[in-house]
Amino acid sequence: MSDPHSKPKIRWHIIVFLAPAVLVYTAVMIYPLFNTLRLSLFSEVEQTRVFVGLQNFRTLFGDAVWSAQFWNALANNFWFFLIHMLVQNPIGIALAAILSHPKLRFASFYRSAIFIPTILSFVIVGFAWKLILSPIWGIAPGMLDAVGLKSLYAPWLGKEAYALTTLSLVSVWQFVGIPMMLIYAALLSIPDEILEAAEVEGITGFSAFWKIKLPLILPSIGIISILTFVANFNAFDLIYAAQGALAGPDFSTDILGTFMYRTFFGFQLQLGDPHMGSTIASVMFAIILIGVCLYLFGIQSRMRRYQF
């Protein structure tokens, strides 16, 4: 104490408190992440690992077979994401807006019930919808028949043109609870004085939502968008549970997650290739990183935050 410049003694308890978390996190998450990026620069030649530089990336983008598969998966992934943004998030916001009405009865019942699909596993969701939409069982055609729209029915999951959109909508059905909850929380945090002031000015109902509430919850919508983006670009389970690793019919539901899994583990006659798997993982990492950076620097920093 007498000499503030003397070397402070090491406070061991800080190290003890930090060490387990930092060790597990570094060893099981960060190190493998960078190791995967590193492995994408290697290839296996005669059962030994050799450094090949960017050759794997050249194969992925340049080789006709690989690049066709890659761009197909990427395009499908963007469509998957787009449907979530256009269907899941607006429905979630609408449900939250209705739920946040202060005098609504049974609000907590509706909230809990609508959240139920979110807690189910992809396996349950994938198979349940597969059965319901199946032409063999006939629930979907039967229900359409009941409202006179039977001609609209098609075995959606089996048709190349519809399968991806159908699965995206199933995923929307599953996860609509998350935007609903987050927006609901944001709407509840808007102070009553603001809404009352608007009411005095004659702004109520729909226009209050568009003009007052929506601008105030924009930051939450931004967070939901980036969460949706990250979740969609490493999605895998639902497609795998419903369509298998081949992401049929004819790869029409293939997204980056299933593409990476197939490449890494192999399927049918193709052998698994960890190095090409790492290459695809690196590209996924880059895409997610770009998305997150765009959000952090492009959107979030420009958004005005209101402090109440």
Partner: protein, 279 residues
């Protein structure tokens, strides 16, 4: 008068929309569960009818319990989920305390380093994780899954818990120090009990994704004796795909534990989300 009528109309419209969406959300679950209690004929003849004395049958459940080892799968899922939550909470709280309580060089960097993992999915590193698990002999053990889920859960846990730990009063901790308590005792005896609600929130957030994960069980622990319930039911359904009774019963059995967890923890979960813990 007219305002009142319009309000009535709005209330009906709101309830109408919510009831419609609730039906959409619950319908598939309802159809699966009621049909799992029916005979094969009744499943196809009247898929939307409730089981009655004629159509009631437990044949699907019998097949599932005979053919699949669902008790083992359930036990594995329990061990993995509880084990991962234990380590996420213990290690997460310790690190959060260090970051929130002490000023030391590198504090901010350490916080940012740990926060990186909130946005980056651990799945990207799968190839190297599998390689590491093979080298250390952990592949096809439950430890592999526990380690991965712990690493995956820690970033958000540290982030949320350190926010809460900053709110614990300094006077209390300093009083403890004057009484001669060690830093460890201050953490375990004084601080941990006070952040219990935040710990519960973190636990509930992590519980469902861990329980439902298919990717890592499929890659790191596909052997029969370490299958989790999610992977087990996926494989079972794949094998019995033409036996509709068995498939529907397996799905219902897989829904059951998650629903039970949800009924117990839904208030905590919803409070956690709506209190803004994930901002």
């Amino acid at each position: 008068m007219s305002v009142a009528r319009q309000n009535n109309f709005n209330t009906y419209a709101a309830h109408g929309a919510l009831i419609l969406y609730t039906l959409i959300a619950l319908f598939p679950v309802f159809v699966i569960v009621i049909n799992s209690f029916k005979t094969r004929k009744a499943i196809f003849r009247e898929p939307l009818a409730l089981p009655n004395s004629d159509s009631f049958s437990l044949i699907g459940y019998e097949t599932v319990l005979k053919q699949g080892d669902f008790f083992l799968y359930f036990q594995n899922s329990m061990i993995v989920t509880v084990g991962s939550l234990f380590f996420i909470l213990l290690f997460g709280a310790m690190a959060a305390f260090a970051l929130a309580e002490y000023r030391f060089r590198g504090n901010l960097i350490m916080g940012l380093y740990l926060a990186l993992g909130i946005m980056i999915p651990i799945r990207i590193g799968t190839v190297a994780i599998l390689e590491m698990m093979v080298q250390t002999g952990l592949v096809n053990t439950l430890w592999a899954l526990i380690l991965v889920y712990t690493a995956q859960g820690l970033p958000l846990a540290v982030f949320i818990l350190s926010e809460f730990m900053r709110q614990v009063s300094d006077d209390l901790k300093n009083a403890g120090r004057i009484d001669g308590l060690s830093e460890y005792r201050i953490f375990f005896r004084l601080v941990l009990p006070l952040v219990r609600p935040a710990m519960a929130t973190v636990a509930v957030f992590n519980m469902i994704p861990i329980w439902n994960d298919l990717w890592f069980p499929l890659i790191l622990a596909p052997a029969e004796e370490v299958k989790t319930l999610t992977l087990g039911s996926q494989v079972f359904i794949g094998q019995f795909v033409t036996d509709w009774n068995a498939v529907l019963s397996a799905l219902s059995l897989a829904i059951l534990p998650v629903m039970a967890l949800y009924v117990v923890f839904s208030r905590q979960l919803i409070r956690g989300i709506t209190s803004g813990a994930v901002k």
